[in-house]
C-alpha cells in the first residue's frame, strides 16, 4: 500500500509547526523522517494518523483519501506505534497486545483463535513472551516500547507509522526492532532520531527542519557531512565501510 502526503500544514495555536510538507512511502518501502527536536516530525505524523487535524493538505492510502474513511477503517489500514503513553489503570502485557485487534471487532464479539495466534506471534516476535502476565506499568521503558510495537503488529495493517520507535530501547532491541520492521514487508513511515539507525535501515529519507522538507534522498546520498552540519548544527564525519555501509561519527557541536 502506498502512503502519500500532500502539502500538510499543522498549526497549534498561532504557531505553524508543519508548513506544507509532501512525502511518499511506496509499497513495502521503509521511509524515515529525520530532523532536530521541534522540527515538526511528531506533529506531521500525528496529522497523518488523524490525531491532529491538519489546517491544509491531504493524506492518501493508495487512491483513498484518508479523511473519507472512518477511524475504524483507517485503523485497519494504518497501524501506529507512538511514544509511550502513561495511564492510571493497569493491563497485563498480553491484554495490551490483544487490544491491537480492536479495529476488527464488533460489539460483544469474542476473540477468535486466529486473534490469539496473532497475539502470540507478535509477542514472540518482539521477545515479550515471558512478560505476558506482568502489568504494563511495572515494565521498563524499553519493555513498554516493545509491548506497543507488538500491539501495532497485532493490528495487521499494510501500512505502519512509527514515532521514534527506538527511543527507549537498548541497542540490542533497537536493532532487533528495526530488523522486525524491515522484515515485515509493509509500507513504513518512521520518525527516527538516530541517524545511524536511519542510514542502516531506511530505503529513503526525508529531512525536516522548521516544519519544511530540507532535503530528501537515499541515506547514502542525503546524509553528507555538509547536510548534517546544515540541519543539526553538528560537525560529523561520514565514512563507508567495505560493504558500502554508512557510519556517522559526531565530532563536535557547532554553537
Amino acid at each position: 500500500m502506498e502512503l502519500s502526503v500532500q502539502n500538510i500544514e499543522v498549526s497549534i495555536g498561532a504557531k505553524h509547526i508543519v508548513r506544507g510538507v509532501s512525502l511518499r512511502a511506496s509499497e513495502k518501502q521503509l521511509v524515515g523522517i529525520i530532523g532536530p527536536n521541534g522540527s515538526g516530525k511528531s506533529s506531521l505524523l500525528k496529522a497523518v494518523y488523524r490525531v491532529l487535524k491538519p489546517q491544509a493538505g491531504m493524506v492518501h492510502l493508495n487512491e483513498t483519501d484518508i479523511s473519507t474513511l472512518s477511524l475504524r477503517e483507517t485503523a485497519q489500514k494504518l497501524g501506529v506505534m507512538s511514544q509511550i503513553n502513561e495511564f492510571s489503570f493497569d493491563f497485563t502485557v498480553e491484554k495490551m497486545v490483544r487490544m491491537g485487534r480492536t479495529p476488527y471487532k464488533h460489539l460483544m464479539e469474542a476473540d477468535s483463535t486466529e486473534d490469539t495466534k496473532l497475539v502470540e506471534d507478535a509477542m514472540e516476535q518482539t521477545g515479550i513472551d515471558a512478560l505476558r502476565d506482568r502489568n504494563y506499568s511495572t515494565l521498563s521503558g524499553g519493555e513498554k516500547q516493545r509491548v506497543l510495537i507488538a500491539r501495532t503488529l497485532t493490528q495487521q495493517t499494510p501500512c505502519i507509522i512509527l514515532d521514534e520507535p527506538t527511543n527507549h530501547l537498548d541497542i540490542k532491541y533497537q536493532l532487533q526492532l528495526m530488523n522486525i520492521v524491515r522484515s515485515l514487508k509493509r509500507t513504513v513511515l518512521a520518525a527516527i532520531h538516530d541517524l545511524n539507525i536511519a542510514a542502516m535501515y531506511c530505503d529513503y529519507l526525508y529531512a525536516l527542519k522548521d516544519g519544511l522538507i530540507a532535503g530528501e534522498g537515499k541515506p547514502g546520498d542525503l546524509l553528507t557531512e555538509a547536510f548534517i552540519r546544515d540541519i543539526y548544527e553538528v560537525e560529523a564525519k561520514v565514512v563507508f565501510d567495505n560493504c558500502g555501509r554508512q557510519y556517522i561519527h559526531y565530532v563536535s557541536c557547532l554553537s
Partner: protein
C-alpha cells in the same frame, strides 16, 4: 510452548467464571436473606416457600390456599420488602456500573457517578421541592421531579463547560467543572436550609441527601429498573471501547475508536441513569466509587469481566447496607448513605492495606 497460552487462557476464564457464579449466587442469597430481615424476622425457608408458591400461583400451575401462612407474613414477603430489595439491587448495580464507566471516561480513579455535579444538582432540586414547595404541581412526585431536573441541569452545565473552548472535553477540565458546579449546588442547598424555618422540612432534606430506600414500592420500580437494565446492558457490550478509553485519546484514535463522540454518548447515558436513580432514592455515596475498585482487584481492568462483576458486587453491597440500615437500631432506620460509608469505608481501607492493588496509581 504452543499449548501453554491456551491452557493459561482457560484457567483465567475459569476463575472469572467462578467469580461470576459466586457473585450471582451471593446476590440471590443476599436478596432472600434481606427479605427475611426486619422488624418482623422471617426465616429464609419461609421466604423461599412463600415466593415460590406465589410464582406457581401467578403461572397458574398450582394454587396454594392462603391459610398456609399468616396473612401479615405473606404481605411483608410479597408486597413490602421485595420492592425495597429489588430497588437496592437495581440502584447498587446502576451506581457501580456508572462509576466504572466514569472512571474509564475520565481515566481517573477518583471518578464516581456524581462527577458531573449530579449529587449537588439533585440536592438543590429536592431541597427546593421540600422546603419551598417548588414542583408541588407534581404532587407526591415533586421531590423526584425536582431532584431529576436538578441533576440534569447540573450535568448539562458541566458537560457544556467541559466541551467548550480550548481543551475540548479534556478530563481535567471535566473534573474541575464538576467540582465547581458541585460547590455552587452545595452552597445553594445550604442557603435554602439555613434560611428555612421548617424543622421537619430540614430533617427531610438531610434524610433525602443521605439517601433512602424506605419509600420503594412496586409502582416506583419500573422506571429505574428499565433504565438500569437497558443502560447497564448497553455498557456490558462496550467492553472493548472502555478498555481502549483507558489508554487515552491518542491510542484510542489509532485503534479506530472515535473517542470524542463515544465519551459524550457514554457521559449522557450515565448521567441519565444516575439522575433517575438519584430522583428515586437520593444520593447514595461511595458505592459507585469503591465497588469498581474492589472488583478490579479480582478481575483487573478488563471491562468484559469488570463491568458485570461491578454490577453484581454493587447490588450485593447495597442489599447488605440496606439490611444494616433497617436492623442496626430498633425502630429507627438509618439513612443508607450513612451506612454505605460506615460499612464501605473501613472495608475499602482494609483492602487497601492488605491487597496488592495500585488504585490506578503507579
Amino acid at each position: 510452548m504452543l499449548m501453554k497460552p491456551f491452557i493459561k487462557e482457560q484457567k483465567k476464564r475459569f476463575s472469572i467464571a467462578s467469580l461470576t457464579i459466586f457473585l450471582s449466587v451471593g446476590l440471590l442469597v443476599s436478596a432472600i436473606l434481606s427479605i427475611g430481615f426486619g422488624a418482623v424476622s422471617i426465616p429464609p425457608g419461609e421466604v423461599v416457600s412463600i415466593i415460590w408458591a406465589r410464582i406457581l400461583d401467578l403461572l397458574h400451575i398450582r394454587n396454594i390456599p392462603d391459610e398456609t401462612w399468616k396473612e401479615s407474613t405473606a404481605i411483608i414477603i410479597l408486597n413490602i420488602r421485595p420492592p425495597r430489595v429489588i430497588m437496592a439491587t437495581v440502584v447498587g448495580a446502576g451506581l457501580a456500573v456508572s462509576g466504572t464507566v466514569m472512571q474509564a471516561i475520565v481515566r481517573n480513579p477518583l471518578a464516581d457517578p456524581y462527577i458531573l455535579g449530579i449529587s449537588s444538582g439533585s440536592s438543590v432540586g429536592a431541597t427546593a421541592a421540600i422546603l419551598l414547595g417548588t414542583f408541588s404541581a407534581f404532587g407526591n412526585y415533586g421531590i423526584s421531579v425536582g431532584a431529576f431536573l436538578g441533576a440534569l441541569a447540573a450535568s448539562v452545565f458541566v458537560f457544556v463547560v467541559a466541551f467548550s473552548g480550548k481543551g475540548n472535553g479534556s478530563t481535567v477540565k471535566l473534573l474541575l467543572a464538576g467540582m465547581a458546579v458541585s460547590a455552587i449546588g452545595s452552597s445553594f442547598t445550604s442557603f435554602m436550609v439555613y434560611t428555612a424555618n421548617d424543622a421537619e422540612g430540614i430533617r427531610d432534606v438531610s434524610f433525602w441527601t443521605m439517601g433512602s430506600l424506605t419509600s420503594a414500592t412496586w409502582d416506583m420500580l419500573p422506571i429505574p429498573l428499565c433504565v438500569v437494565v437497558l443502560t447497564g446492558g448497553f455498557f456490558l457490550t462496550q467492553f472493548r471501547v472502555l478498555d481502549v478509553m483507558l489508554l487515552g485519546a491518542e491510542a484510542a484514535t489509532t485503534l479506530g475508536i472515535n473517542i470524542l463522540r463515544l465519551r459524550k454518548i457514554y457521559m449522557v447515558l450515565t448521567a441519565c441513569m444516575t439522575g433517575i436513580m438519584v430522583a428515586k432514592v437520593g444520593t447514595i455515596g461511595f458505592v459507585g466509587l469503591i465497588i469498581p475498585h474492589v472488583m478490579r482487584m479480582f478481575t483487573g481492568s478488563d471491562h468484559q469481566y469488570l463491568t458485570p462483576a461491578a454490577a453484581l458486587g454493587g447490588s450485593i453491597f447495597l442489599i447488605w447496607c440496606d439490611i444494616f440500615a433497617r436492623t442496626f437500631l430498633t425502630n429507627v432506620e438509618l439513612p443508607i448513605g450513612v451506612v454505605t460509608g460506615i460499612i464501605g469505608g473501613p472495608f475499602f481501607l482494609y483492602l487497601m492495606l492488605t491487597k496488592r492493588y495500585g488504585f490506578g496509581g503507579e
